[in-house]
């Protein structure tokens, strides 16, 4: 096989210790948006948040939030 692809999910975060990871998903998404806004798209630590919300969040939610951001109706300040 070619180089083994490392598969993983968002690591354990003590702030969200329970089975319900909704807040973890939403916080990772918001942190990604804030991180890229503050530090630019290529800032490496922002990739952690991108990987986290892509693993944790249902795609439908991400699409909904992205369209809300475009319309300016996203509920949280970025």
């Amino acid at each position: 096989m070619a180089d083994e692809v490392k598969i993983g999910t968002a690591p354990f975060d003590p702030r969200f210790p329970n089975q319900n990871q909704t807040k973890h998903c939403f916080t990772s998404f918001v942190d990604y948006k804030r991180c890229t806004k503050l530090r630019g798209e290529d800032y490496a630590p922002c990739k952690y948040f991108e990987k986290a919300y892509n693993s944790l969040c249902p795609n439908a939610w991400v699409e909904k939030w992205e369209s809300q951001i475009e319309e300016g109706t996203f509920p949280t300040k970025i």
Binding site: R15, P17, N18, D31
Partner: protein
């Protein structure tokens, strides 16, 4: 106005006449105390509760390296949250 039962059950002297009720009162008070304590703990310490959204907008950040659960086998919470700080 009838005579009523007066302060029966609410004063120490009236309780002496029905001593079996005293453990009942004590356990009820203890149960109410535990329940009240747990409600206070939820209101004051829960990682998902904030009383002032201006000064504490993200209450879960207080638990980056401590444990809220009473019982969480085997997991070391003192390692900091893996999320990088970017601010």
């Amino acid at each position: 106005m009838g005579k009523g039962i007066g302060l029966s059950g609410m004063t120490w002297t009236s309780m002496k006449k029905h001593t079996a009720v005293i453990p009942l009162y004590a356990l009820c008070a203890a149960g109410a105390g535990l329940a009240g304590f747990y409600l206070w703990r939820l209101a004051a310490k829960s990682p998902e509760v904030t009383w002032n959204r201006k000064t504490n907008p993200e209450p879960w950040n207080a638990y980056e390296n401590k444990q809220y659960k009473f019982l969480s086998s085997g997991r070391d919470y003192t390692e900091a949250s893996p999320a990088p700080k970017y601010k």
